[in-house]
Assembly symmetry: C2
Homo-oligomer: 300 residues x 2
């Protein structure tokens, strides 16, 4: 059976795995990224990690997921906030030349979305939209099992979509950007304002209060549901996907907000679009499995 | 040179043309649709119009643009508000079987977008987003010269995108839907409220007042610019196109609102997305030329 090398390069950790064409992880190694020691240090680390994989040279190709927008044609990061020095660095070429293997790079959310579209919750559909709602919010459009990355690798940068222009300015994102209103970070911020920092360490504490019937927490979760529904309705009207695959930690609160979210969403879309489904992400390691699927998708 | 039959089937008129592969219209015929006489009457009319085209049987295929979402695989309209009776009718099969020619159907906005992507303002780009701002607002995503029509043919139904949830309810669309806030119809409605029905026959009258320096008209046009900018920023974050191609009658007022629109838009998108261009639609007859390009695109 064919196998591929997947690399999940994050700001904190690097993981390298050998993955077969069915998405089974055969072997995985993990290390701290140590980006503070420089780009060449990280590249040497990735190379040595790949060399620790059994029979790495027999793999068909290498796929890498990285945090931030990517020029997938050039195999370079366009913006590398969490990996200083990697902006514009020819990472695909460096790794590919070393191993004489075809090497592909894409944004970590795109890679996870492609993994879900090929092997996970979207595997039976031609047009899949993957959304992760976690600390931040990201998305990926996958048409016929290939990511639509956009001209500058910014397709799916849905964090910055305005879901309500009448909000407060939070950071560099747009006023009312969905990430500032409906991410885990946003729910934590809003929860702390209501209940204090001692009560709310993370979004899960707001969900817990809602489950206990706290009316203010329930109102926050209803607002979260509505804001997320607006985001999904916007995406639906642009691409009309067969399925939204949803990942990310905020789904741990799905019992509190998801039913209302879906009801709100369905009230915002046309009758002919109601066949769209919501499915939870299924892959245990979408980042690493999805990365390994890059060569599978592009070498066909 | 290869040639194709294009059919532009509207609620008022039907146009049939022979178009060569460079997009030149070689011959065109036009008639009233007469939908009130029934579907079979309209189909017979289209067939007889095609038969009036010189050497129609030598064409490679037939492409049709229709008003409303289309199941492009089945070749049927999903919703046919302006063509009652055509919902679910196997129009592609009926026409194709009669002429023994491959026949394709798509939404009229998708067809125009594909025409612009193949032959018009988007011809040098891989990822094109076409928007028409007229009586209504519609869009089409064209990736590698093919339309992404969505699961139910509703991709690009951007009229219903919420650009500001704090507006009034106008019709069946969402509160704050861009078509109710920034289309020609919307500008006419808002202009009439300010200046009276006698002063404002259509959106052009608001633009004319703005050109004369009327401060209320200028404020309306500034609001229009901002609302359209929000819509474009939303689409940009979902698909990151290389170019937005814009058509439709509201562009007759571009001297009044477009510069501000683009400035507002560029303040709402990431630095890495700023290469996106705006171009005006170039084809004189995008509906009919785009329809004729359907067989060209799908028969490859």
């Amino acid at each position: 059976m064919k196998a591929y090398i997947g690399v999940d390069l994050g700001g904190t950790n690097v993981r390298v795995a050998k993955v077969d064409e069915n998405g089974t992880i055969l072997q995985m190694v993990k290390e701290a990224t140590e980006i503070e020691q420089g780009v060449e240090h990280v590249v040497a680390k990735i190379i040595s990690m790949i060399e620790r994989i059994d029979r790495y040279a027999d793999c068909e190709g290498i796929g890498m997921g990285v945090p931030g927008p990517v020029d997938t044609v050039q195999g370079k990061m366009v913006l590398a906030t969490n990996l200083p020095g990697f902006e514009g660095y020819p990472i695909a070429q460096k790794i590919g030349d070393h191993f004489h293997l075809p090497t592909f790079v894409d944004n970590d959310v795109n890679v996870a979305g492609m993994g879900e579209a090929i092997l996970g919750a979207g595997k039976d559909e031609e047009i899949v939209y993957y959304v992760t709602i976690s600390t931040g919010i990201g998305g990926a459009l996958v048409v016929d099992k290939k990511v639509v990355a956009g001209k500058n690798g910014h397709a799916g940068e849905i964090a910055n979509i305005i879901i309500d222009r009448n909000r407060e300015k939070v950071n560099y994102l747009n006023i009312g950007a969905v990430e500032n209103e409906a991410s885990g970070t946003a729910l934590t911020r809003k929860g702390r304002r209501l209940f204090g920092e001692d009560m709310i360490a993370h979004a899960g504490d707001v969900f817990a209060l809602a489950r206990q019937g706290n009316s203010e927490a329930l109102a926050l979760c209803d607002e979260l549901a509505y804001d997320i529904a607006v985001m999904f309705s916007i995406i639906a009207h642009v691409v009309d996907p067969a399925v939204f695959v949803i990942g990310g930690g905020v789904m741990k609160g799905k019992d509190v907000f998801f039913e209302k979210m879906e009801r709100d969403f369905r009230s915002m879309i046309h009758k002919g679009m109601q066949t769209v489904k919501f499915k939870e992400a299924q892959l245990e390691e979408p980042g690493i499995i999805g990365a390994a699927m890059l060569p599978k998708a592009y070498l066909k």
